[in-house]
Amino acid sequence: MTANMYRVGDYVYFETSSTSPYQIRRIEELNKTPSGNVEAKVMCFYRRRDLPPQLIQLADKHQCALDETNGSPTSESVLSNEQLGPKQRHQMKHRELFLSRQVETLPATHIRGKCSVTLLNETEALCSYLNKDDMFFYCLVYDPTQKTLLADKGEIRVGSRYQCDVPPLLKDGESDNRDLTETETLVWTPNHNLNDRQIDQVLVVSRSVGTFARALDCSSSVKQPSLHMSAAAASRDITLFHAMDTLHRHDYDLASAMCSLVPSSGPVLCRDEMEEWSASEANLFEEALDKYGKDFNDIRHDFLPWKTLKNIIEYYYMWKTTDRYVQQKRVKAVEAESKLKQVYIPNYNKTNPAALNNNKGVLNGNSNGTGTDPAVSLGGKACESCNTSTCTQWYAWGPSHMQCRLCQQCWSYWKKYGGLKIPTRFGDGMDFEGGIKKRSGSDVEDDKGMGHRPHRCNIGGCGKEFKLKAHLGRHYATAHGIAVRAGSPRPVMKTRTAFYLLTTALTRLSRRLCRHIMRPRHAARAPSFAINIQAVKQECAAQMVNKSQQELKQLMLYRKRNRGSVTAIASKLGHTGPPTPQWLILTDKTFLPQPEVVAFPKPPKGPDGSLLYERVPNKPEAEKIPLNNTSPSLKRRTYEDMNGIDSSSLHAPTAKRLAKDPSSSALTSLPAPTAIPISRHHASTVPPIMAGAAPLGSVPMSVPPSAVDQYQAMMAVAAASQTQLPPGLMGGPVAPRQVAQVNGKPKIAQMTRSGSGRKQFVNWMDAPDDLYFKATENSKKIRRQISSVELRRAARKPWRFLKTKLDDLTQVVVLD
C-alpha cells in the first residue's frame, strides 16, 4: 500500500513511451484537475543517454578531475572506483543522472514506481549504488535549453572582501571598554526576593484591575458587554507584560507595584491592537485584506491611514486567531483541495506493446517440424543483453529491422536504467532514436515542451514517439523513407549506412533446401517475422548429407524466369490511366439495396448536448426501445436522413454479426490508392508515402490511417446518397453498416461491441495524429492555376497524377 502511495518529494519512474526507458522525475506538486485526474508537477532528471555526447565527455572529464584534485582524502573512493570491473563501470553509467531545473507536468497515472536519487557524496563507494535497486546518483546539473552542465555547488569565496578582520585577543587585564548599559536595558531579572506565588498574585491583581478598568471605560463596555468578556480582554498578554514591567520598575516591591496599577487617574488599562480596533475598523481591514491580500502598505494607504503599519501588522497576527480568520481559512482549504499531498497509483500491469507474442514464436518454431531444443524453437535470437534463450516473456527491443529482443529481466533493467546490463554491439545500449541527436537550433524550443507531448510517428501502425521533432523527421526518413520538412531548409534525410549481404554458397544452398522453413515469399511479405536460423541450419545440414556434390551444384544454379522485359513492365506500371478497377465503379443508386436495419442507432442527446449512452441490454425485447425515437425534437435531421431509419426494422437481429463481419478488416486494410482528402495538388506525392508506410509499419494488423480515411470517404458518399456500397465490396452477404454521425462529418463506426455486450468507444486519444499539408505560397499559386474541372476530378480521383507546371514540389509537411 505504502509502496504505491506517491508523495510530493518522491523520486519516481514515469513512463511516457512504452518502448523507451522510464523517465526519472521528482514530484514537486500533485494537482487535481477539474476533470478529476491527478497531474504531477515534476522536476526532470536526465540520464546519460539523454545528453548530447559532448556533454557526456565533459561529465567524464569532470569526474576524473574531481578524483585527481582530491588527493589523499578521496583515495578511498578512487580506489573503490578502480575496483570496479568493466561490467560494473558499464552499469554505473546507468545510475548516473543529471539534475535539471526543468519542471514539467505529467499525468500521475504514468508513474511506474519509486526510485531514489541522491547527490553523490565522495565518501560513498559507487558500488553501493549498484548493489541496490532503483538507486541513482547525480553530481552535475544539466540545462537542456542551454546545453550546459554545471556542478551544483556554491563556493565560499576567499579574500579581504569576504572575510572579516579578526580582532586580536585582549591581554589579561585589558578591557575593550564596552559598557553594558550601552548595549542593553534590563527589563526583568530573576534575582529578586519574590516567590513564584507572589508574582502570580501580581498578575491576578493586574488582570482584576484591567477588568475593572474596562467596566469603567465607556468604549470598552460597548465592546465587552459582559463581565466575562472584560475579564478575558484583561487577561491578554499585554496586561501581563505590563504587570511584569511594573514589578521590575518598582524593584520587585509588591506594594508600590500594585499601587501603581491604580494611579489617581484611574485603574490602568492596557489594550492591544486586538482590543483597540473598533468593529468598523476590523471590517475595513477584512475588506482590505480581501482586496489587497497581505500588502499592508497598500491596506494602510487606502483603507486605514490613521493606523501605523506596525498597528496593522500586530492586528493582523492577532486577527488570525479569531473565528473569522478560521472561517476564511476553511474557504481557502477548500480551494487548496486540488493540491494533493499524496496519490495512490496502483501497480501498472497492462502488457507493454513491445511484449512479443509467444504464440508467434512457437508457430515459427513448429513450422520446422524437427522438434529441436525448445529454447531454440522459441524463435531465432537470444536475449540481446544476457544472451539467455529461455524466458517466459520476450520484449522487442531496438529498431524493428534488427529483430532484437530482451528477456523479462533485461527488459525491466532497460526500462529502469536506460541501458543493457551487459555492453553489446549497440554500445551503451543507446536507443536508436536517441542515437540520432538533435541538430538544429530551432529544435531547442521544441525541447522545452517535450514530455508534455512527444512527437509521434503517424504512419500507420508505427506510432513511435520521439522527444524532438528532428528525431521524428529522421525516423520518417530512415524507417519510412519519407522526406519530411519542418520548415527548415536543411535536409533531414541521412543516407543509411550501406550494407552488403554476402551470400555464400552454403547460404544459397540453404535457401533452396530449407524453403519450407524459410518460406521466402512469406518472409518477403512479412519481413518483420524472424526466421528460425537454427532450424534452417539443422535442416540444411541434414538435407545436405543425403545429396551428392552434383545435386548440390545443380541446386545452386540460377534459373532465370521469364517475366517479360523490364521495359514492358515499367511502361505498364507507368501507365497513367489504368482501367478503373471493377470494385471502384459505383453501382447505380437505384440498384443499391436499402438498409433494412440500422445496427447502432445513435442514442438521444442529453440536455447538455452530450449523447446519452446506455448499457445495451442483451435481451431482445430490450432492443425494442427505440432510443433515438424517444426525443424526436433533439434528433438531428441529417442523421435520420442518412440512415433512413425504419422503426419497424429495429427488431432484426443484425447488430451482433456486424463486428465479426470480415469485410470490416478487409476493408480497412485495403492497399488502395490512398485518398487523403487534403490538398489536392500534392496528392501526387502521397501514394508512395503511404505505400511505403503500410508494409514498413511493423504491426501489420493496424490500420493505415489513409485507408481509414478513404473508407470513411467512401462510406460518406454512400451514406449521403442513400445508397449502399456494392456487395462485392462488403464481402459476402450484404450486412448493412452503420455510419455514425459526428459533428456532421461522416466517421467510421465509433462503437464496437465486445463480448460483454457493452458498448465500447474508440477513445479519441487513440486516434492517429492529424496529418496536414502545408499550403505554401507556391502550392496556393499552383492551385489557382488548376482549372476547376481538373480540381474536381482530382478530388474524385485523388490517386491520379495531377499534371502541374511545377512538379518539383514534392514535400509533405507533417505538423502537429
Partner: protein
C-alpha cells in the same frame, strides 16, 4: 573536555517588543512574528520570570561595520520601500530585492537583531551570564557586503567578533537546515573560529557546505561541513551531532560556543526537508550546554512559525534547566497551535535518505580532517572562573545585592537534578505540517543565485557552449563514448 550534568545557569534573554511587527512582505516565508510568539509562550510558561530579560539596544552602523562593508551598511540604512527605485544598481550589487526584500523598518530590524547578539556577546565577555539567548538573531547567510537568504546583517559574525576579544577560540555550531555560509565565509581563513554546520546539501540553498569545504589558509580544517540528505530524524541527527561535536570540543577546545538554532530543520517546515521534532532539535542545545562554556544561542531559519516558537520555547527551557509541560499555556496566539495545543510535535513518516552507512562515512571523513588540527593548548578554558566575580559585580548593580534572598527562595533556585524525561507523551497531534509548501519557495531562492552576476555566481561552471554545429561529430562521439 568533560561534560557536566545540568545545572541552573544564569540565562540572559534578549528581546525587543517591536521585533514581531516587522514584515518581510506578502508571501515571504520569513516572519519575525515567530519571535514574538516565542516570547508570549515564554511568559505564559513562566520561563520569563526565571531569566534576565534584556531589551537590546540598536546596533550602530559602526558596530555593524566591524564585519560588513561601509557602503553596504550605508545602503541598508538609506534604502526604503519608497526610494527603492533610486537604488536599483546597488540593490543588485547587494543582492537586495527578491529573497531579501526591502521592507519598512528593514534597517531597524537589522539593528535589533544585531544589537541582541552583540549585547549577548558582550555579556558573555563580561562573564555576567553563562547562556545568552537572542532568538531575533541567527541570520547566518548575510555576507560581508551582500544580503542573502532573508539575512541582511550577520549578527552571528558580529557577536563572534565580540567574543574573540576575550576568547582565543570560539566554536560556531549551526543546526539550521541551510548551510551557515555567511558565518563560514567570514571566518574561512582563521583558526580562531571553527564553524560546524549541519545542513541539507544538494540542490538546496545556498549551495555551499560540501564535505570538502574545510577552510582555507590558516583556517584550513577549521570549517566543518556535514552535508545531509532529506528526512533526517531525531535519532540520525543525534548519531551524527553528538560524536562530531564531542570530537570538535576535544580537538578544538573552544572557550565559547555560539549555537545557531535555525528551526527550519524541524519536521514540516515550509522550506526545510528534515524530520526533526522539537525534542530532537532541543537535544542539540542540551548537549552543547553540558560543556558549561559561555554559550550564546541565536535563532535563524524556521518557516512554520508555530513549530519555530515551540522549538525555541522548549530550547529556552532547556537552557534554563526547567521542565515545562507539554500542554501549551493559553496566550495571545494560542489558536496558532491547534488542533492539539501541545508543545511537542511528532515526526512525519517521510523516509530518511541518510543511511547509517552514509552518516558513518561522513563522520569518518570529518574525524580524519579534525585529526589534522594542531593540538590546542588547554589553558584558555581555565581562565574563566578567575575574574568572574569581579566582572559580575559591574553588571549586577541593578540587583539589590545587599539584601539576601530568603532561604526559602534560595532553595528554590537550586537546580533539581532531574534530567529531561523522554517518556513524555510524544505521539499526539499527528502530522499537521505541510511539506508541499517547500517546493514553492525553493525555486525562488535558486533563482536569485542564478540571477547573480557571472563573476559573483558561486557556481563551478563546467561548460557553457551550446552544442550547435556538431551534427557531424555527433555520431562519432556516440560511438566513441559509449563503446
Amino acid at each position: 573536555m568533560a561534560t557536566q550534568p545540568h545545572s541552573r545557569k544564569r540565562v540572559c534573554y534578549y528581546y525587543d517588543s517591536d521585533i514581531g511587527n516587522y514584515y518581510y512582505g506578502q508571501g515571504h516565508p520569513m516572519k519575525p512574528h515567530r519571535i514574538r510568539m516565542t516570547h508570549n509562550l515564554l511568559l505564559n510558561y513562566g520561563l520569563y520570570r526565571k531569566m534576565e530579560i534584556y531589551r537590546p539596544h540598536k546596533a550602530t552602523a559602526e558596530e555593524m561595520t566591524k564585519f560588513h562593508s561601509d557602503d553596504y551598511i550605508r545602503f541598508l540604512r538609506s534604502i526604503r520601500p519608497d526610494n527603492m527605485a533610486e537604488y536599483n544598481k546597488q540593490m543588485q550589487r547587494f543582492n537586495v530585492g527578491e529573497d531579501c526584500p526591502v521592507f519598512d523598518g528593514l534597517y531597524e530590524f537589522c539593528q535589533l537583531s544585531a544589537g541582541g547578539s552583540v549585547a549577548a556577546a558582550v555579556k558573555l565577555n563580561k562573564q555576567a551570564s553563562e547562556i545568552c539567548i537572542n532568538w531575533g538573531g541567527g541570520l547566518h547567510h548575510a555576507k560581508k557586503s551582500e544580503a542573502s537568504g532573508f539575512c541582511y546583517v550577520n549578527d552571528i559574525v558580529l557577536g563572534i567578533l565580540e567574543l574573540l576579544k576575550y576568547h582565543q577560540r570560539v566554536l560556531y555550531i549551526d543546526i539550521d537546515v541551510h548551510h551557515g555560509d555567511g558565518v563560514e565565509e567570514a571566518f574561512y581563513t582563521t583558526d580562531r573560529v571553527m564553524t560546524v554546520s549541519f545542513h541539507k546539501y544538494g540542490e538546496y540553498f545556498p549551495g555551499t557546505g560540501d564535505l570538502r569545504d574545510i577552510g582555507a589558509g590558516k583556517g584550513k580544517y577549521y570549517a566543518v561541513n556535514i552535508p545531509l540528505r532529506d528526512g533526517m530524524d531525531d535519532e540520525a541527527y543525534e548519531s551524527i551531532f553528538v560524536p562530531i561535536i564531542s570530537k570538535v570540543m576535544e580537538t578544538f577546545q573552544p572557550s565559547a560556543v555560539v549555537l545557531q538554532c535555525g528551526a527550519d530543520s524541524l519536521t514540516g517546515d515550509r522550506l526545510g526537508c528534515f524530520n526533526l521534532t522539537v525534542k530532537g532539535h532541543g537535544k542539540c542545545v542540551e548537549f552543547v550546554k553540558k560543556y558549561n562554556l559561555p554559550f550564546m544561542m541565536v535563532g535563524g531559519g524556521g518557516y512554520t512559525i508555530r513549530n519555530v516558537s515551540r522549538a525555541w520555547t522548549y530550547e529556552t527551557s532547556v537552557a534554563l534547566g526547567v521542565e515545562i509541560a507539554n500542554e501549551l499555556p493559553y496566550n495571545d496566539y494560542f489558536e496558532y497551535f491547534g488542533p492539539d495545543f501541545k508543545l511537542h510535535i511528532s515526526p512525519s513518516n517521510m523516509a530518511n535518505q541518510n543511511t547509517p552507512e552514509y552518516l558513518e562515512k561522513i563522520k569518518t571523513r570529518l574525524f580524519e580532517n579534525l585529526r589534522m588540527l594542531p593540538h590546542a593548548p588547554g589553558v584558555q578554558v581555565q581562565t574563566i572562573p578567575d575574574d568572574a566575580i569581579n566582572e559580575e559585580s559591574d553588571n549586577e548593580d541593578k540587583v539589590d545585592k545587599d539584601e539576601r534572598l530568603p532561604q526559602k527562595d534560595l532553595d528554590k533556585r537550586i537546580a533539581p537534578e532531574n534530567e529531561f524525561s523522554d517518556s513524555e507523551d510524544e505521539g499526539e497531534g499527528g502530522r499537521r505540517d505541510n511539506r508541499s509548501y517547500k517546493g514553492r519557495k525553493r525555486p525562488r531562492m535558486e533563482k536569485t543565485t542564478e540571477n547573480k552576476e557571472p563573476e559573483e555566481k558561486p557556481k563551478e561552471e563546467v561548460k557553457l557552449e551550446k552544442s550547435e554545429e556538431s551534427s557531424k561529430t555527433n555520431s562519432d562521439d556516440t560511438t566513441t563514448d559509449t563503446g
